[in-house]
Symmetry: C2
């Protein structure tokens, strides 16, 4: 696992358990035990998942007596969104160029089916 921001985020999201945890947290804060409840794996495994999510910046944790409430942090998701958008932009530019080129070579053609 590489150590850059985006890689950590994607790697953290590449697990259904962790995504389910995030989904739960999108409804509000929760403790480790609460988060673990729906799953068939040990509490320690959940704790590890939380550490992964925390390292990726996708959650942060507070302190309330012996509980460590987790909350969702959306900044890394925004980063992913932006990365994808930047992407789609380039891709569309490429189609635009392609279409212009085709129009140049076949001036009669009016459009191009992308599918």
């Amino acid at each position: 696992m590489p150590d850059d921001e985006l890689s950590r985020t994607f790697a953290a999201l590449a697990d259904p358990t962790r995504r389910a945890i995030l989904a739960r947290l999108s409804e509000g804060e929760a403790t480790v035990n609460e988060l673990a409840e729906p799953f068939d794996i040990s509490l320690q495994a959940i704790s590890k998942h939380l550490k992964v999510l925390e390292r990726a910046g996708l959650i942060s944790r507070g302190r309330d007596a012996q509980w460590r409430p987790c909350r969702l942090e959306t900044a890394p998701l925004d980063a992913v969104s932006h990365w994808i958008d930047r992407y789609r932009e380039r891709w569309n530019d490429r189609f635009d160029r392609l279409e212009r080129e085709i129009r140049r070579v076949h001036p009669g053609k009016e459009g191009l089916e992308h599918g």
Copy 2:
């Protein structure tokens, strides 16, 4: 690595080499050798990366004589975008509810700083 669509996509994106390959492909189709050129790793390693990307549906491959040109496929990226959006929606709903609740309890308060 779990076997669902989203997990495969995220896992495929969680590697800088693979993201660089996608970036290159966003400029247009390329052969395996062309894709491998910027990297210090073996052609076989690149071939493996391409297989991962293909399994995730992020690229597709054609046939042109002995070359296997790769092209970007954006459907999985769209899926990721939608997943994140659905997410942010829930999260914002939650803030809205929270804000309403706060206004109910402290009718004088006008707003809440999210940062």
